[in-house]
Subunit: 332 residues, 2 copies
């Protein structure tokens, strides 16, 4: 399998990306890693060059503050766009980038292309849960508005991803809603509920926002607007509480002593709630595999991104989604 | 002014409600308090009977598990419905209930009646913030779906409430959204933004879910579905973190000692984040004033509910909303 990596994406690019790619190439000799970016820069960061590692030159860089669609249209020789083109032209099976999320979604749509039968590709990160396992939530911001049919496709794609990449045999799919009863919700969720009930997934019904952390499901389906509100509210609340804790911990000599006793347990808990610990997010519903790594990815995170991508490729995730969507189209 | 109180609503009814009503009657001799419920029961709980306290008999009770609309239609002699009728028939200026929220909203719509020009009355509780002041959020669950015009009316009603009841001279109104830029959001928020910009309110733009706790606004506008997701996610995250803290605090002898040092500071913080500390929620956009107290209200909370209701009446909140809505209709 061949994985293209955008060497210039992310806060610690290109150094962390190149280091992570090198580590991945050494760990998985059966995988061809193609680093995309300015050849000289990349080469200068590589102390060695395993035979399964190669460089594809790209002269431009999509910046974090670039307007997504404009960047993809204008910076045709950027590392991100060139990596997307490698997937489109079947020179790579997948691409990974830790760069500008909006631009990566635009690269997915405009360069790699939407899978036939899929109306809206979805971004699917893991939301942290108290058990440390996390729940795959989609859509998280690729599309603000969704139709019931969109939510059904999110559910199918999310299930197949959890099976392929995380080995969950029968992923429990929940619908983010305001109550557990079937009749609860807004027009969208009320219309989506029966579609999910009749889909080839393990639908466990509505999941309330307050129960998401308790990990009552493996896949959580929602529109991109609501998903953003959920995730940001979770992050904001956790962040605020931990910053107040920190204040309390440093108030006095005695509180510092007390904090020292409690810190180990709390740190491991805080880590569980840190979404950055939960790996990258696939962009599902494209003709090829596109993976988003966190902007703050270090070399280890880049290597872990390759690990996830390999699992998705090994299980032919894109083919499985395509087959499922096509069979549903045929059944209509 | 005359305030009808549903004596049978809430987890601690009728005892806590009667006690709170008595305390309110004694504190504010200019206010007539009408306790609505089974006369004998109420009388047996009253050690004294100030001249501004009276009882209006009602033989039935709306239970927490009753289906809202059905309960309001069938239990015509319930304490909640009778209190609503007192408002409608101008025998009371406002009503307060700590009972079934859905049934109270149905009482508001079916008994008290919608204000002319208002499409959707909204439930507006306070969401806790780190500064302890809270933000008035609406709609929180009265209507799952909203139009841009609904959001505009929520903004106007919420502003007038904050002025009247909390004395905020120029309430900052924020639109709950996925980013701060004007062009961000789903179809609803993108269409609502220009309406809010041109409204007679102090619109401060979009507010992200992660910033709600930081109290960047006094009034937060959203549809009922999204509002529920925000509030439940905030409660769920805070609850989960505090329960993990409790576990860490009781793990060992040493951690119990450490906890004892940190507890005072953390308890006051936890209290700030407890939405139950933030008083009741008005149901805005009705012909009369309807206030929802928390189901867990004790006598003090009931008395505080009367305090808020008095402020709203003193400032003629319903008249102010009606005038503002009518002037907008005229301008159209």
């Amino acid at each position: 399998m061949r994985i293209a990596i955008d060497a210039m994406g992310g806060d610690h690019a290109p150094k962390a990306v190149v280091e992570g790619a090198l580590a991945a190439a050494k760990e998985w000799p059966d995988t061809s890693i193609i680093l995309v970016g300015p050849e000289d820069t990349i080469r200068s960061l590589l102390p060695e060059m395993p035979s399964n590692l190669s460089i594809r030159h790209a002269s431009e860089v999509v910046e974090a503050e670039d307007e997504p669609v404009k960047a993809v249209r204008r910076k045709k020789d950027s590392s991100m766009v060139v990596a997307g083109r490698l997937v489109k032209e079947n020179e790579a099976d997948a691409m990974i980038s830790a760069g500008n999320t909006g631009a990566l979604m635009a690269t997915g749509l405009l360069i790699v292309g939407r899978m036939e039968g899929i109306e809206r590709p979805a971004l699917a990160p893991m939301i942290p849960t108290l058990d440390g396992k996390g729940v795959l939530a989609l859509d998280l911001g690729a599309n603000m508005d969704a139709t019931p049919e969109n939510l059904l496709q999110y559910a199918i794609m999310g299930s197949l991803y959890r099976k392929a990449v995380h080995g969950v045999a029968k992923p429990r799919v929940g619908l983010l809603n305001v109550g557990t009863e079937a009749a609860k919700g807004n027009e969208l969720t009320k219309a989506a509920y029966p579609l999910l009930e009749n889909a080839p997934i393990h639908f466990v019904g509505n999941v309330e926002a307050r129960d998401v952390l308790r990990a009552d499901c493996d896949v959580l389906v929602c529109d991109g607007f609501v998903g953003n509100i959920l995730l940001k509210s979770l992050e904001g609340t956790a962040g605020a509480i931990f910053s107040v804790l920190k204040e309390e911990f440093t108030k006095s000599f005695l509180s510092k002593l007390a904090a020292a006793v409690l810190k180990p347990g709390l740190s491991s808990f805080k880590k569980k709630l840190d979404y950055k610990e939960h790996g990258g997010a696939p962009l599902l519903g494209l003709k090829g595999l596109v993976m988003k790594s966190h902007g703050s990815s270090d070399a280890l995170a880049v290597k872990n991104g390759v690990r996830q991508t390999r699992l998705a490729l090994e299980h032919n995730l894109v083919g499985a989604i395509s087959a499922e969507i096509a069979s549903r189209k045929g059944a209509e």
